[in-house]
Subunit: 220 residues, 4 copies
DNA sequence: CATGAATGAGGATTCATTCAT
DNA sequence: CATGAATGAATCCTCATTCAT
């Protein structure tokens, strides 16, 4: 669409990745995550970013575009915060560390804001929901899935459907923690509480997927 | 039109549960769940309900009140609270039935809309989030907790923390189903897919909490 | 216009002076005087009068009519509160008593409300302003004028223009009292303060209009 | 249109005294004084001012603020505060000139509208009434009081309470003029009528407060 | 490019008035 | 006659967007 304005290499400035642009997105992120898409006003964003309202429209076509880009970058930033599965440790320790890191990322104000904001807009703007899922959730989950597959190959775990197993573990870690938090019943859970829940999740997970005398997950 | 609904007491007004009030809530539900709290306008709601804008304010103090009532009625209507644990069956069957019902309520467009909408507004209006959590989530989960406690007393299950166990089971049932759905990656999961995931969840749950030769949840 | 609906003497009820009508006007007075014409709502008036909103329109064509009638009756009521000049006393005492009564009627919340309310609407509804002036102000002033004329005839006072003199005395009595009060700078002035100001006014008035060695009002 | 007003500093914005701001106040004055605070709508004001509704809110926080500023500028503009007491003349001439100027400012349509409008709103919004009294009435009266005090020091007048005396004089000048006018009984009084009333007021005032053989204000 | 003043459509809410019961 | 539910026009105010400088 906007492609190939070709002959003007000079002053392309706002096309991709100028400092101003990053500055705007940074301000927008703060405001969008705090107030949601509808609650955020372009004026507030301009103030937060330290630019004029007009400048917003130099870099972004409209509020929607700015929101999309903001969420994208937030996604990337969150995706970055990925757990390092490569460090060799026993499975139980790895699961516990991953689970705790995962919950800590999920149940803090910033993570919650992003999820809330995207989830809210997903009905009206499905592509945004999809992009966020792919970049953040599928991404971080995917790396966990790979880890599980590696363990299966190594014979450390016995798993039929690693995607399902990965989902089960992360969900187990959320038990009693995520919903009360996201619905504003409590502040972020304490590290101790997280450790307890993750321990229990790990036990259940290993009870189900660790090769033992009898594999109770495949009954009969 | 609405004349002579026979047994209706005269002039019960807009106090609690008139036909008009239900009509308004019905219209509001459609609009709120489609567009979210901010996206929905009172004008749109009035049109959807087939009443004038002014009438909205005869029955509800403001947009907030209408939203709260709508969301609560939606939850009740959805049967999230309605699963019948009292019918005597073996634990495994009950868990599977409950899990399937739970996921079906959660992962259909109506359920997703309600959750999305409330979650979205919870940041700016925590009371709404809290109220929803208490009345809908805690309530439905509470009945499951009671069921588990009964089983523990009966010796059918061995559970240390029934709240945690209840959260674990419902979360397990969501694995691979809820997030892709809520972020608009897929349509509602098929009954077969739900059954598979719930089966796996039930197996893990029972492996952890069913009294057996060795109780694997209490390791070492 | 509405005259001669002739043949229906029965149930004419609201035509002139039923109890309901008085009840409505009473409620309306309270609300109009407290909130002004625009600030008063028909709903509030209905509540204050203890009738339904619909009933208001049985007795009065619209808000304007109700307001007019309310002000009329208030005028009458205030006009009633007329000072009794007939009791024979010396002029000085009479002036002081009248002055004090006048200021007390003017500088209390009810009097101020009426004046404010009528004054405010006089621009948009001049007839109301005129009617109020005639019934309340001219009325009470007129009786004072007559008193002065009597004194002139009796030789007690020497006044060229009794209308002017009457206005001068009542205005003198207001000095430093009325404006701060009507602009909400102070509560009603104390009887002592009123007495002081009225005393001074009386002195100035008599100095100007009492026959003495030289009549200073007619100089040169 | 408004371009190049030459010496205007760039970007002075809407902070204090821009042309747009004056334009808005001008339109607001017309509408407020004609219709009163409640009767005036922001839409009407925008139209009268030749700007958009939104622009109103760029320069003023809300209807209240716009009203306050309008009323204050109106008072100032009207020259109520502007009478020059410093020009040396004899007391009698000064009083007559001041009295006439005062009544002319008070009893013309603009002055009446301002007073009516503020008085009307003073009941519901006392701060507005108070602010108007302080800035306009007390201010203009205060300069008269100072003048009187100067005369007392000079021995030209003998006055115990100069505040009271100032109020008395201005009130005397209003006799038979202000009330009929403000209640829409008559148009603005003619200069001749004003002169007559002010002459009489001046005579009464000087009879009471000019040092003479006998000071008639301190009777018997 | 950057600005911020200006816009006008749209939102929530109120209220005088009507009308079926 | 009395009611009060229903109406819809009108109000104040917000905000995404544009444009002259």
């Amino acid at each position: 669409m906007v492609a190939h304005q070709a002959a003007t290499p000079l002053h392309q400035g706002h096309d991709e990745d100028s400092a101003k642009r990053r500055q705007i997105v940074k301000g927008a992120r703060a405001v969008f995550l705090e107030l949601g898409f509808d609650g955020a006003s372009m004026g507030e964003i301009a103030r937060a970013a330290g630019v004029s309202k007009g400048t917003l429209y130099v870099y972004f076509a409209d509020k929607n575009s700015l929101f999309c880009e903001t969420i994208e970058q937030e996604s990337v930033a969150q995706g970055m915060l990925a757990f390092d599965f490569t460090v060799a440790r026993d499975v139980e320790t790895t699961l516990k560390a991953f689970g705790a890191a995962y919950i800590q990322a999920l149940c803090n104000p910033r993570g919650a804001s992003a999820i809330r904001t995207v989830m809210a807009i997903a009905e009206r703007m499905p592509e945004i929901g999809q992009r966020y899922y792919e970049r953040v959730i599928a991404n971080s989950l995917g790396r966990f899935v790979s880890y599980l597959e590696l363990q299966v190959q190594a014979g450390t775990l016995v798993i039929d459907d690693c995607n399902l197993a990965a989902g089960q573990f992360t969900k187990l870690c959320q038990a009693t923690l995520f919903l009360p938090f996201i619905f504003q019943m409590t502040d972020s859970p304490s590290p101790e509480r997280i450790a307890d829940v993750v321990d229990s999740a790990t036990r259940m997970f290993l009870a189900a997927y660790r090769p033992s005398a009898t594999t109770p997950v495949m009954p009969d």
